[in-house]
Each structure stands twice: as C-alpha cells, then as structure tokens.
Amino acid sequence: MRKLLLQNLLQSPLTIPPPPPSEAALTELAAKINRATQRRLGRSLSIRQVDAGSCNGCELEIHALNNAFYDLERFGFHIVASPRHADVLLVTGPVTVNMKEALERTYAATPDPKWVVAVGDCGRDGGVFAGSYACVGGISAVIPVDLHIPGCPPTPMQLLQGLLALLQAQESR
C-alpha cells in the first residue's frame, strides 16, 4: 500500500519539479547563480541562518527557499547547522539587545572567509523596531555586513536575487 502510494507520489510532478515554466525570472536566476557560484567557490556555499530577534516572518521565507519551487540546493547553496561549517551568515531581525552577544559569538565562531547577509528591513536598520530600548537596530551595528536584502519579509525570489548579488559583489572586489 505504502509502496504504491510512494510511487504515485514520486511520479507526480511535485516531487522533481523543474522551475515552474511561468517563472522565467527564476530560471534566469538559476543559471546566473550557477555560473557565479562555480567561479567563486566551486560548487557549494554553506549558509548559517541566525535569528537576531526577528518576528519570524523572515525565517518563514528563508525556509521557503528549500521548497520544491525554489530548491535552493540546486544552486549549490546549503543550509548548515553550525556557524563552524558556514561561509555565509544569513542574519535576520533588529538585533535585540538580548541577542547581541549570541550574534557576536556566532560571528566569531564562523571561519574566514565569511560573508554576512542582513535579511529584511529589520536587518537593515531595525525596521519597524528601530528606536526601541530593546533593539540595537540593524545587523551592521554589531557585525560587518556585506549585503542587505530588504523586504518585510523579502520574498524567496528577493532572497535568491540577494544571494546572487553577494557573489557578484565579491567577484568585483
């Protein structure tokens, strides 16, 4: 029974989806990221996500990067569980005062070379929470940031575009 079900499910177009045909932009992005990633880092780039006080909206969209539509891993991006394995820190939130130390320590634990991507309007300057006694306001107030991806929250497409921009910025340095 289960085998049958599994077979059915595996045969459905959901399981091995090509980028949906309506999404020319995504396909175009895919090609670009592939070329740029490969030039710079061979085939893979490890990402560690750090929530520095987000409302969890940004996390939801970062999660979505792993679904079959965006399938982040096909570009060579891989989300890892430890900063020690990471090339990129993907940081969200307005950096709450209570998370500042944890963020600094996570950054320190990430081996060089490393890049920091600040995700969301909160990550840029504290967003709607800027000015609160409990927020430092913006990732770059705590650790050096290489790229900001705006949005509240940024869509998965914007996140993909941002990761690509990071690579291009590194190339031109």
């Binding site: 929530d51 969890n56 909206g57 979505a64 539509f69 005062v97 996570t106 927020c135 869509t155």
Partner: protein
C-alpha cells in the same frame, strides 16, 4: 466546583469601568482579588491573561460554565499586588514579566527571577518608571536538579536550524530527560513600549509583527479590540475577507507544521510535499491581497484591498488543488508505521495540565480542551459558517499531527463557504473617534491558539496601553512537562509539534 454564575456574582462587588468593550472590566479590592485567586485554583475558571501598567494589575478570567469573560483590575499604587502565580502556576512567567517591564512586584510569588530582562537593556522597567539600570547583573540561576549520574545539556539560544532563538537547559539521566528548563526573552523587542503613544495605524503595523507567522491573527485581534473600543461597525464584506485571510494563514501554517514535524522524524518526503502546498497557499495569498504572509492586509476599519473576481478564481483553484493533493499526504502519514512509531506516545501532556494552563490551539484540542475562540466568544462571520472543532484526547505528538490534519480539512471547508457566501459591499469604514478614553479587548483564534489583545485608547485616538498575549505563554511551560521522561533525541519532534512562538512570547 463553584456555582455557574459565581464569577459574575463575585465581581458584582467590584466597581465596573465604563467604556470597556465588549466584556466588562471591574476594579476590585485586594480582598476580592484574593478571593478570585482562590476561585481560580478551585473552579472551572481559566486565566486568559495577566498584565499590568503603572499602579495597576489586570487579570482576565474566563468561566467555562457560564461563558463569561471578565477583566479584574487591582489598583496597586505602591507597585505591589498579591501574587497570582503563588496559587496558579500558569501566571508565574507573566508575573516575572510584569516585574521586569513595569516593576510591579507580585507578593508571595514562588519565583522572583527576572524573565525577559536579561540584564542588558539600557533601562530598567521600561514600561514603568524607566530608570537607569544599577549595579552588575548577576548570572541567571537555573533551577537545580540533583541526583546520581545526572548531566546537563545546554542548548541555544542559537539553534541548529532556521528557527528562533531561546535557551533550553536539559538535565538528563543517560538518554532520558529528567527536566527541561526554558529560558526565553532573547527576541524581546520592546513592542509594548513602542505601542504606548503610537497612532492606531502605527500600532497595527507592530501588531502584525508580534509573531510573523500569525500576522493575520494578531492584526485581527488588534483591529477588533480597536473597533470594540471605538464602537466602529465595519462592513460585512470586510469581516468575511478577514476570515478568508485568517483561514489561509491557518492552512499555510498547519501544512508547514505537518511537514516539519514529520521531517523531525527524518521523514523528509512529507516535508517536501507539505512545503509545496504551503508555497501554493502563500502564492495565492499574494495574488489576492498583495502579500505572501498577508502582512498589513487587515487594517483598523476593514481590509486594505478587496478580493477581485480573479482573486475568487485563484482561491477556488487553490482549494481544488488542496482537495486533490492533501488527502494522499494524510494517507501517507496514516500508513507509515515507522513514522507513527516516533509520534505515538511521544511528548504526552497531561490533559489536566492543559486545562489548568488554559492551553489552546492544536495542543489544547489534541489534549481534550475544546476551546476555539472562533466558536466562543466567536466573531463574525464564523457564526454564519458551519465547521467542526476537532477534538482529540491522546495528547501526544501523533494527536497534534492529526489535529492539524483535521483543522486543514475544516479550513478548506470554511474557505469554500466563505467564497460561496461572500457578501457584496464596501470593505472599509473610517474608525469612530469617541474623543474620550476608551478600552477594548478581543480574543482571536490564530493557528497556534487564542490570541488576546487588550488596549486603552487616549481621547485623541492614540494608543495609551496595548497588551498582546500570545497563546505560547500557556504552551511553552507545557513543553517542559511534555519532554519529561522522553529521550533527548525526541526533543525536536516534541518542540515542533508544539511550535511555540518565541517572538510572540518575548514581545
């Protein structure tokens, strides 16, 4: 058990506050406050919330038998009030928060440790006297656990995944968890302080970001509290569109959770499929209302945009897809014994504890507590829709998965009804300006459980004080109980089956 009318009768002795809607608020004496606490310990009352402001503590109570909600307020000019947590443990963390944020001291409280204040803020009692911090912060004292061959495992605040931060201190005997102690507050953003003095529109944006996954439910709770306070009657169609958004949010989150729970049992296939369903829901939401998570789409007075004819088609198509694609996943879960081997009997929470904590949402309803704010106290248009409140009693991870499955089915049914019966007309109405201080309150069923928002508006329609209470307040403590005697390796799946909000709790 007390008699059915007892809560109301008891509060007859208090002094009612006018301009508090839709449920009464009464000022009580210390004597009556203490009597209420005794009642809380011995009757069918549930604590819906406990919050404060300078010189006053507020306790929201719900009596099941008479379906009554009442807020009791105790004036405490010296900043001290008789502890609720002393008698009713669900109040403990809320009281520690009141002490941190406002400086209100719960007298006789069993736990005086700070909760949200980690000793780093540039200010003490930010919602109270807001003084400069003094002295060195002492390290947080975790509760001792003593015994032979016990060891501790500290986890977090930064976790190994795309997840919010919080600290978990496990004390284990070999593989088995003897005690879990949580330490939260890492994502405290000071939202309540931001809200004080804000315009209603500004406040709505913050409320939509208390917990991003529940942005619709929070926005709805806030606007309903505002509309209750200002006695604004919003057009019918707005109610229906709000419900549509709320059900889309519930669907998206439940689909995501079902997949994520199974993934924590290393059954990635389910996650892959559920994530696709979730993505389709978010895309349809964006198509209809312009934002994938529907942030800022519910506004005070109505909704930001009407649903077009094309929007109706989009949602209809989405429903057809979900009706086709969801049942095979349910069957897959049902037929995968190895998966159920991980979920059945794992993370059991005693139903008595669920009742005591007034724990709502999937955790509550998977453990025998039927409360669903859509049904009671209820709000439009749910009174015109037919739906069931699924109820299970096993109270384990498996029950929480099934409950979500049943609720997905109910939400599909609800959305179809909404599309069929959607009334025509405007979707927005200018808010009334009462020109005097007024208070409002709302209880809304989010995907995680009942969200309470209480607020007081100034005469110029700005927010004087607003308190949002996340369902997680009464769920996080139960996770500590659920993991006891489970193996450490089962923590992720238990945690995911709860899916408490860190941001909603930490505020």
């Amino acid at each position: 058990m007390m008699s059915a009318a007892s809560l109301r009768t008891m509060l007859d002795d208090g002094q009612p506050v006018t301009k508090h809607h839709p449920w009464p608020r009464v000022i009580v004496t210390a004597e009556l406050w203490n009597a209420l606490l005794d009642g809380l310990a011995s009757s069918d009352w549930t604590m819906l919330g406990l919050w404060g402001e300078i010189g006053m503590a507020h306790l929201a109570l719900y009596e099941d038998s008479s379906e009554t909600i009442i807020v009791a307020s105790l004036s405490c000019p010296d900043g001290r009030f008789p502890s609720v947590g002393r008698i009713h443990s669900p109040a403990q963390r809320l009281e520690r928060t009141m002490a941190d944020l406002i400086g209100l001291q719960p007298i006789g409280a069993p736990d005086y440790r700070p909760w949200l204040d980690h000793g780093c803020w540039p200010v003490r009692h930010p919602l109270g006297a807001a003084t400069a911090p003094t002295g060195m912060r002492s390290p947080y004292r975790f509760l001792p656990a003593e015994g032979e061959s016990l060891h501790q495992i500290p986890v977090g605040p930064v976790h190994a995944g795309i997840i919010e931060p919080g600290h978990f201190r496990f004390t284990a005997n070999g593989e088995t968890v003897v005690r879990l102690e949580q330490r939260l507050g890492y994502v405290h953003k000071g939202i309540e302080s931001l809200l004080s003095g804000a315009t209603i529109d500004q406040a709505a944006r913050w409320l939509g970001r208390v917990s991003g996954d529940s942005t619709v439910a929070y926005a709805l709770a806030f606007v309903r509290a505002v509309e209750a306070a200002t006695k604004t009657v919003v057009p019918d169609r707005a109610h229906w569109l709000r419900a549509l958004m709320a059900e889309l949010e519930r669907l998206a989150n439940h689909c995501g959770d079902i997949g994520a729970i199974c993934n924590d049992a290393a059954f990635a296939l389910m996650l892959a499929h559920c994530a696709v369903l979730r993505e389709k829901i978010l895309r349809a939401s964006a198509e209809c209302f312009g934002h994938r998570l529907l942030m800022d789409c519910i506004v005070p007075g109505g909704v930001i945009a009407d649903l077009s004819v094309d929007g109706v088609k989009t949602v209809r198509a989405l429903m057809a897809e979900l009706r086709r694609d969801f049942p095979p996943l349910v069957e897959l879960y049902d037929n995968t014994a190895s998966l159920q081997d991980r979920t059945v009997n794992t993370g059991f929470v005693r139903p008595a504890l669920i009742k005591q904590f007034g724990c709502g949402g999937t955790i509550g309803r998977a453990g025998g507590r039927a409360f669903d704010a859509r049904r009671w106290p209820g709000y439009p248009p749910y009174d015109q829709l037919t739906f069931e409140t699924p109820l299970l009693t096993d109270s384990d991870v498996n029950a929480r998965v099934w409950l979500r499955i049943h609720e997905v089915q109910q939400s599909l049914h609800l959305i179809e009804q909404i599309l069929q019966q959607l009334p025509m007309g405007p979707v927005y109405m200018e808010l009334n300006r009462p020109g005097q201080i007024c208070e409002g309150m709302a209880l809304i069923e989010g995907f995680r459980g009942d969200i309470l928002v209480w607020l007081r508006l100034n005469a110029d329609n700005t927010v004087a004080r607003c308190h949002p209470r996340d369902p997680s307040w009464f769920q996080w403590p139960l996770l500590e109980a659920a993991i006891e005697n489970n193996i450490v390796a089962d923590f992720p799946i238990c945690n995911k089956s709860f899916n408490g909000s860190y941001s909603g709790h930490d505020l």
